[in-house]
């Protein structure tokens, strides 16, 4: 019998279909990779299996038992374990107590701990490599050990099915292989494992099969090699034949001192390194794309440039170091971010949001700027009196870019403008960027995980992977030289 069977699973949120007719099954001792770019619906499928989201239709069977619509704790007790991406251990408890928690019965009368539970928690800790730190508090442990605690909790009840969410995000190469070994061990123990991740490459060495999703639908299924070479998958991840308008780097005049130089920058969040010796440069008037998956370090890079996170190394604007300058001073100097989360004033109207961006302009300049923006984003003109919160995702993204442009930036930083947008909306944004490039003398730094979206605009591309810049080159060489890293 299959450990997990998903059949014609669909989930709708209002008018949005997050997952449509997804079917797959996993046998005991098998690893399935469920992959897809942001917004592909893979997390929705995972939540539906866990019971966190109720499926709109379709069936989920664990060891043959229909569980669609059950509450999470019942599904968990039937034999589903989950390794969460973000670890949130109990900080006042020791590592051992955190693991023992997962073994406790769901009872209100168990007031004294059962010694057998402690013994079992110790055995599990030993399996995942935590024996040396049993009595430590989580806050004193490195990031990789926190992930081990999550893993220990997930397998504590000996589940038949284990779901693993982005197991390798934020881990170094060595930690990654140690973690992969632990996941392979689950397979040897006869568990059915589902790894949810962004691309085939990250699960290829582990997965027996890979299922690829895109905007809520299944687009391919097969061995990792088959999926990696699948036409549709390649088109979704790489965009197929590329028409690029890239200008050669020699065409920019400030070759000696580029407009912005990022010089071997390191950034740490607590113990996790988010950026490692990252170096890049942007010429005045250039359109540079930084592509990388979720968690690769794009937002961190942009926040370092904007002065929002402390870093080691140097960032220079026109030869002048930005170290010691406040985020506000950097922004006033004309380095402006359109952030990933959009950060609009949702209760203000479109017009008020734009005016916030143009506060330092004279009335005349402001009018002129608005006219230009309405030409770029005609949709915003129609929506002027509407509050930003009531706009669609695509319109909000346009407004975010427009508001940043209102400040007349020297450098516009666009962080994942396509996040969560439908393909057709991406196309509108893409057209606007194209016009922006043609009509204005502006320098743009674009961060994207959607290569299809980023490449056609870019003069030059950097690939960011696990906190490091691993490739740099013109867009037309991307697929041949860096494409395989990406699918």
């Amino acid at each position: 019998m299959k450990a997990l069977e998903v059949e014609k699973l669909s989930k709708r949120f209002g008018g949005l279909t997050a997952a449509r007719d997804i079917s797959f099954s996993i046998a005991p001792g098998e690893i399935l990779g469920l992959i897809g770019p942001n917004g592909s619906g893979k997390s929705t499928v995972m939540k539906a299996i866990l019971g966190v989201e109720k499926p709109t239709s379709g069936s989920v069977r664990i060891k043959g038992v229909e569980v669609a619509g059950w509450p999470p704790h019942k599904i968990a007790r039937l034999g589903v374990g989950m390794v969460f991406q973000h670890s949130r251990p109990l900080h006042r408890q020791t590592v051992l107590e955190n693991i023992a928690l997962a073994l406790l019965p769901d009872s209100l009368t168990r007031l004294f701990p059962d010694p057998a539970i402690i013994a079992r928690a110790k055995a599990i800790a030993e399996r995942v490599g935590l024996s040396a730190v049993l009595d430590r508090k989580p806050a004193t442990l490195p990031f990789a050990d926190l992930r081990r605690i999550e893993l220990a909790k997930a397998i504590a009840r000996d589940p038949a099915v284990v779901l693993v969410d982005e197991p390798f995000a934020g881990l170094t190469a060595r930690e990654t292989s140690a973690f992969a070994e632990l996941i392979a061990e689950m397979r040897r123990d006869g568990r059915a494992v589902m790894i949810v991740d962004h691309n085939v490459r990250s699960v290829a060495s582990l997965a027996n099969r890979v299922l690829a999703m895109y905007v809520g639908e299944r687009i391919a299924e097969g061995s990792p090699e088959e999926v990696m070479n699948d036409e549709t998958v390649r088109r979704v991840y790489l965009g197929g034949a590329l028409t690029t308008a890239a200008r050669p780097e020699s065409s920019f005049k400030d070759a000696a001192t580029p407009f912005l130089e990022v010089d071997s920058v390191d950034v740490f969040y607590d113990r996790a390194q988010a950026l490692e010796k990252a170096s890049l440069h942007i010429h005045r008037g250039e359109f540079v794309a930084v592509v990388g998956l979720n968690g690769a370090g794009k937002t961190t890079l942009f926040n370092a440039i904007s002065g929002l996170v402390p870093f080691a190394g140097d960032i220079r604007r026109e030869g002048q170091s930005l170290i010691g300058r406040s985020a506000a001073a950097i922004a006033r100097g004309g380095v402006v971010q359109a952030p990933e989360g959009r950060d609009l004033f949702t209760d203000m109207t479109v017009r008020e949001n734009l005016d916030m961006g143009g506060l330092r302009l004279t009335a005349g300049e402001s009018e002129e700027r608005l006219d230009w923006l309405f030409d770029l984003f005609p949709r915003l003109k129609e929506r002027l009196a509407q509050t930003a919160g009531t706009l669609s995702g695509g319109e909000q993204q346009q407004l975010t870019i427009a508001r940043a442009l209102m400040t007349k930036p020297d450098l516009l930083i666009l962080d994942e403008p396509t996040l969560g947008l439908a393909p057709i909306v991406m196309e509108q944004i893409s057209k606007a960027l194209e016009r922006l490039r043609q009509t204005a003398d502006i320098t743009v730094l674009l961060g994207e995980q959607n290569v299809t979206f980023a490449l056609p605009h870019a003069d030059r591309v950097y690939v960011l992977e696990h906190a490091r810049i691993v490739w740099e080159g013109p867009p037309e060489r991307f697929e041949a030289e860096a494409g395989a890293r990406y699918i």
Binding site: L50, P72, F84, L101, L104, D106, L111, R157
Partner: protein
């Protein structure tokens, strides 16, 4: 969970309680009376910390539970004069039932709505008491025919014993496997669910326990004061004092609730000669402690010892 009930903190607390039990041999009735009230407030704050610190639910209506306990016990006594133990038990039961009725729907709404629901419950109870004045004494208050004892000392010992017992029970519960599950449910309900725990069940149980001790304390306090009034048991400002006491003492410590509440009551009383300024000074001290030392008084003390 593994360190057992009798941790250093508990042994120290028990030793302090033992010392406090000898106080009646030295101090005046006035101070004993003050401490008696303070001990009941200590129980209110400890019960509240079980919800805030462990279930991660902000209950703005501790006085809903306290008031139900106090008034149920008081009304029953004034109507039928059954044995006092029965009145107290009825008060506790009423608080538990009221707590369930309130928590069942409130736990289904997320975020700030739980707190708002509990706040509205207090206003409802307050209005009920005022409207049904024949039964409840209304705004003037309800005078009960019986008290536990006329002796300051006996009242003091009962309050101290009750606080010690409540503290042990609540602290033990918070350190037990059940407390650990409750803490996990409060911190990350999704993950707690994925570990197989019924989050609503555990939060509801914590609400019931909190209501039980609040109701018991409320009922006992009525038969110490000999009267129940909105101003002493139900008013929002009483609830605020309970909450500030718990936060001041230290969140997620249980015992801190008692320390914070006793400090608040005693500080307020000792500054009383200053008039209205007293409330201001005590509030300012509470604000400073909460802002500067989020771990509360226990956190201050624990930091010095190097481990909490």
């Amino acid at each position: 969970m593994l360190r057992g009930l009798f941790s250093p903190a508990v042994l120290i607390s028990l030793a302090v309680c033992l010392c406090l039990s000898f106080l009646p041999l030295w101090v005046s009735g006035y101070i004993l009376g003050l401490l008696t009230t303070a001990y009941y407030f200590g129980v209110f704050s400890m019960s509240w910390d079980l919800l805030f610190g462990f279930a991660n639910e902000v209950n703005f209506g501790p006085t809903f539970l306290i008031g139900l306990g106090a008034y149920t016990a008081g009304i029953l006594d004034s109507l039928y004069q059954p044995p006092l133990a029965l009145c107290v038990a009825a008060g506790a039961l009423a608080a538990v039932l009221g707590g369930v009725v309130l928590a069942l729907p409130a736990l289904r709404v997320r975020g700030p709505y739980f707190g708002l629901t509990t706040l509205v419950a207090v206003l409802l109870l307050q209005n009920f008491i005022v409207v049904f004045a024949d039964l409840t004494g209304g705004e003037i208050g309800l005078t009960v025919p019986d008290v536990i004892s006329a002796s300051d000392k006996i009242n003091y010992w009962i309050a101290l014993g009750f606080m010690t017992f409540s503290g042990l029970a609540l602290y033990g519960l918070s350190r037990s496997p059940v407390g650990l599950i409750l803490q996990a449910s409060g911190q990350d309900p999704v993950q707690a669910g994925a570990l197989g725990f019924n989050v609503v069940k555990h939060k509801l149980a914590s609400f019931i326990v909190s209501a039980l001790f609040s109701g018991l304390a409320g009922a006992l306090m009525v038969f110490y004061l000999g009267a129940a009034s909105v101003g002493t048991f139900v008013d929002i400002s009483v609830g605020v004092q309970v909450i500030v006491g718990a936060v001041l003492g230290g969140r997620r410590t249980i015992l801190g609730g008692a320390i914070g509440a006793i400090f608040l009551i005693c500080a307020g009383e000792s500054l009383r000669p200053l008039g209205d300024l007293a409330t201001f000074i005590v509030s300012a001290i509470a604000l400073v402690v909460v802002l500067a030392f989020p771990g509360g008084l226990i956190g201050l003390f624990g930091a010095k010892r190097g481990a909490a």
